[in-house]
Subunit: 364 residues, 2 copies
Amino acid sequence: MKPIAPVSVHVELGPRSYDISIGSGLLGEAESYRHFLLGRRCMIVSNDVVAPLYAARLASALRSAGVTAQTIVLPDGEDRKNWPTLQTLLDALVEARCDRDTVLLALGGGVTGDVAGFAAACYMRGVAHAQIPTTLLAQVDSSVGGKTGINHVRGKNLIGAFHQPVAVVADIDTLDSLPPREFRAGLAEVIKYGAVADDEFLAWLESHFPSLLVRDKRALVEAVARSCAIKAAVVASDERETGRRAILNFGHTFAHAIETGAGYGSWLHGEAVGCGMVMAGELSVRLGLVKRELTERIDRLVAAAGLPVRPPPISADRFVTLMRSDKKVKANELRFVVLESAGRACVRSVAEDEVAGLIESFTN
Amino acid sequence: MKPIAPVSVHVELGPRSYDISIGSGLLGEAESYRHFLLGRRCMIVSNDVVAPLYAARLASALRSAGVTAQTIVLPDGEDRKNWPTLQTLLDALVEARCDRDTVLLALGGGVTGDVAGFAAACYMRGVAHAQIPTTLLAQVDSSVGGKTGINHVRGKNLIGAFHQPVAVVADIDTLDSLPPREFRAGLAEVIKYGAVADDEFLAWLESHFPSLLVRDKRALVEAVARSCAIKAAVVASDERETGRRAILNFGHTFAHAIETGAGYGSWLHGEAVGCGMVMAGELSVRLGLVKRELTERIDRLVAAAGLPVRPPPISADRFVTLMRSDKKVKANELRFVVLESAGRACVRSVAEDEVAGLIESFTN
């Protein structure tokens, strides 16, 4: 059988540009790191689930690349993406006397990447970091684009920074160890890219979904690489989300309300996004922007991924209240990413009673 | 008597450029704010000492400028420039439902400016802030240049961000209420600018020090404006302190060790900088870079400002240990800003035993 060729995706951001490497076996290869780490001191930042699986392999590859690394292990889980965890990490960096030239390597899923990236943004007013995502969600979404942060009890990612990594190394072999529920959650963001930015990719997903569901490595490399390429193009055009980048939040205003309303950690982010995309699709239809045939294609993919298509029992009132505290809200308008056509999305303001009616149609 | 003309200093940082307004009576004038705040929502961030003096006057000027503002009052003091204070402020922003278009107005000294600026850097991954410094130290130094952050028990400003303000409004009338000890501490940074960047300004200070000491407003406007102009030029050439900006840390490696060694809050930052400049001057002489006549000019200004010229009783060993945890240390070298000539400075690595000998000459 032919070996699986690795793919490189460039994120063009001027002086903050970097490459995403996607392939099989990258994590354990010195070549994955030498070009951006040579001679630098590293801190591997991981969590108590991922570190036992991959930290030693990573450290060994780094040694082969001539890089010294220590490891800091944080608690895992969306409910630990908070102040105390950030403080634990920053304290550890101070204790280890990390200097301004230290590079943090975030080894884990979205929570680890967000916390490690934010710590890198804040430590000594900013040190470098690289992302080594080990979940599908992190590989296709959270490791790319420089959004870092922690949750506040009143809302997700309310505290954070834009801080681009110096490199992303996505080894799809690490997905072998991913629990089925987390793998499915990651598919939500993959579907999202097709829905909002690339109709051809949406069609590719429809024909390759069976291969993805059995974690076929060639299919995974292609899905991750195409997702990253879409995200890279959007981020390159609007790094700080003053405009177009907002389309990547398709389904996310609903999703954040679901996550907060259900309690952090009870719904996975990707599960909430899956359901949120179904709701945002329905909103697009109600606004007369697209035909139901399009949103049904998305709904079918969400369902095929085994993701929920209905929200948890949260009253429409509470739902709307939760959405009002979303970061994307401006001056109390409710704003949503909606579909304009297959592979195209935009942002619209919607009256609160219209949104409440939509929510009721899902929860009654 | 002729009115005192306000002065404007431009900080050129491309898309992050802004102006510093320096003058008498600016704080209470709507014109000081209209051009950068019109139609925006503001949060005044102040402290329990400054808010009772100036918050109402500021809020009234903002109302005249058509701007809505609430006020958040934080505890004051270098020992409160920490996690709990930052968290209190961020919680208050969340509670008040501040959105991404909110502007934070830091009204107070360096601690308030640093904490408010860092909160602005982190809240929703970055909102705008303006600085309204009410201490001499903040007017000439900390409000300009975008360095924000909090202290860690193991070192000053270890956690923070570069986040430029959108404007700085320095009303020298607020210096009327400044306690004598804090006023003198602010003079340390003024002397620093002459020492490291502008021999002519150093000479101006020598002839105008009596006027400054009695807080003559014309002299103050000129001293603040010239200090800001020097800082603006240095920051414009090296925003993130990868090179030349480091000269602004003249005396600061010693000062940070003094502040930490003596316990935050027992020495004021400016007092430590005054003493630190005397020590760094002596180091420059010992390295054979400058003649004692030059450093004696600086020593005389520090003494005339009523600032300490000898460090507190910290052993040389402990002093060196404290300096090793300074942010500016790279790979365990001890690096110092030293004088090359009048109005010129550079960074040098110095052997630890040489530094220890220097410290002993001051503390024995």
